[in-house]
Symmetry: C2
Subunit: 284 residues, 2 copies
Amino acid sequence: MPPRVETQPVSVAVCQLSLRVGEPEQNRAAAAAAVAQAAARGARVVVLPELTPSGYVFADRAEARSLAEPADGPTAAQWTALAAVHRLVIVGGFAELGTDGRVYNSAMLVDESGRRAVYRKAHLWDAEPDFFAAGHEPPPVVATGFGRVAMMICYDVEFPEWVRLPALDGADLLAVPANWPAEQVPVGERPMMSVNVQTAAFANRMFVAAACRCGTERGVSWTGGSMIAGPDGYPLVGPASTAAGPGGAREELLLARCDLRVARDKATGPRNDAHADRRPGLYR
Amino acid sequence: MPPRVETQPVSVAVCQLSLRVGEPEQNRAAAAAAVAQAAARGARVVVLPELTPSGYVFADRAEARSLAEPADGPTAAQWTALAAVHRLVIVGGFAELGTDGRVYNSAMLVDESGRRAVYRKAHLWDAEPDFFAAGHEPPPVVATGFGRVAMMICYDVEFPEWVRLPALDGADLLAVPANWPAEQVPVGERPMMSVNVQTAAFANRMFVAAACRCGTERGVSWTGGSMIAGPDGYPLVGPASTAAGPGGAREELLLARCDLRVARDKATGPRNDAHADRRPGLYR
């Protein structure tokens, strides 16, 4: 039996933030402000970017390690306190110093009861292998008071086989902390990062909420384009401002009412079902 | 070693056609006219819709069977003749009467040398199981004089695991004959069918050319939205007119120059690769 979920739609928020590498206190303060603002607007689930406290563009391995923290470190403490005060769920990325001594590009989910799950990015982008060990565990699906929430990180979501796993495991909502580097986008087009989020939702009839950064860090600009897509693949809100758009990517808080129960029904027509119609025996 | 391919970009065409169920002669004539027009505009690969000769909305099983033909039937003969005259590759859908006596929703690829491959739709939509047996073989990848071309049909492309197979098998171009039923599309949005084609291309860094029908058949309207997406996921041409757009979906011939060699390089960054970065040991 699935766990009890709230029978009313819940507000989900994605926070498109500008953060700075090497300034964890300031970054945590920015995240706390964003969570408070989201809470004031009624959010019950809040998604923060990838590597929120540490920033992303590390100068070297030593810097990355110096900005990593245990899964029960200061970020977990802060987010748990915020979750308790505001009575909501937070998913965000952080640099994890594992008990095995390795550094991971991780995300955690906290609710009022504390840290519920940590996920380690399994598909590493660009220089990340210089700083992080890859994760080897599929995204956990956490039964929260608001629905079943899973998480993966940035480049992970470009692998539809990976997106499929938490969806098959019953996720209603996939939260995606991201730091999408800005790429050239043809005039009039939506960034592929946002398009890909739509298809991840569509292929699995689940909600997908992706929070990207904005601004520039040591010469790297971020795409922006944060979005919450519904189970039909269309945006419920977003994409947010993007690096390619007029004015560039800016800090934004996007909220959407999500009836997460809708994601329990994978029907795509009277006789079709996005999951049951799969033919896994033919895939490899 | 991959087969020799033309070293120049080739023009690929998708034909968005209005067809009529039960009128195979007229439909074949319409397809021939579209192929001739595409050839006149320089196309070397032409994609026709799903079930081009038969139409789609069958009244009953008997009608579907009566409109089916062997893989070496009149459609193969006509398309082979057209391919020889115009020196091009044709991919299109047809109702196949198998040598096993079953009826399949199939596509064939023909070139100057004749029929090169037949593919049977593996993921059946809506009432199709009433008319068709499902295929059980992955999409073949055919080395043509213009590059390696694979095909799948309509609903098949909504399963990213299925799209992955011909991509991993080296397809440069995935041709998708389709009959997407018209669905409600939010104002300002591109139909998810077209968005999904973009992501199929993006996830595999290959070209995807999808030809849909337009018009209405026994009360069913078709989406239109035919498109050729490049390996970066952005449309090279299209989406064509759609049922949700002003004026609805109309007959259109879309062409794009495709440098199919680009699809041989799966690099997504200096240190990343859309296929090599997969972690199949973790997928299930």
